[in-house]
Symmetry: C2
Subunit: 113 residues, 2 copies
């Protein structure tokens, strides 16, 4: 799976998005995250694995506690892709607007002749 495929797949689940939102305000342990989501640890660990495989989250075990944090630039590529496409799309709509404007000006000019 390509990098962007993995990142967007990772974002396609509400629990994983909530974990990202929580980690955006600071690192947390897997236990803390699981409690917040009222989820049994084994099911929750599956989400953590997806978050790690998509390179959005890094975790590290210190003693008996596994700490998670967002990777710097975790969301940059996904955001960049969306911004680029939206720019293309908006440029096209602007061109369409000015085309329609030109058409109606020509129409008016013809009507005034």
């Amino acid at each position: 799976m390509a990098y962007l495929d993995r990142v967007f797949h990772c974002l396609s689940d509400g629990t994983r998005r909530a974990v990202i939102a929580q980690l955006a305000s600071g690192p947390a342990s897997v236990g803390e995250l699981a409690r917040r989501h009222h989820m049994a640890l084994p099911s929750f660990m599956k989400h953590i694995r997806v978050l790690e495989e998509s390179e959005v989250v890094i975790s590290r075990k210190t003693g008996r506690v596994r700490m998670c944090q967002l990777r710097p630039d975790a969301l940059t590529a996904a955001q960049g892709w969306l911004e680029r496409e939206r720019r293309v799309w908006e440029t096209r709509l602007d061109q369409l607007d000015s085309f329609i404007e030109t058409l109606s000006e020509k129409e008016n000019a013809r009507g005034n002749r």
Copy 2:
């Protein structure tokens, strides 16, 4: 599946992202899109269905041709979510920076005493 789940799932596939990129520069028929991706029509139609179910693309049949176009605001919610989280994350990093700066200033002041 929640709306954002569906949008991000839709974005998690390279073919679907390429279709979105193509439609950002203007509407196209399903046939044109399938040819561009060298894909058999039935497999390609599965992607079109996902794009429609996630409310990213609208298609309409005119005679024998099915035309596709991006929905206005197709990507707004996904982009909005990413921007919001990134802002939280960057604010946190800025706060961390100024905290470290304050710490090292205190450290220097102590060294100079």
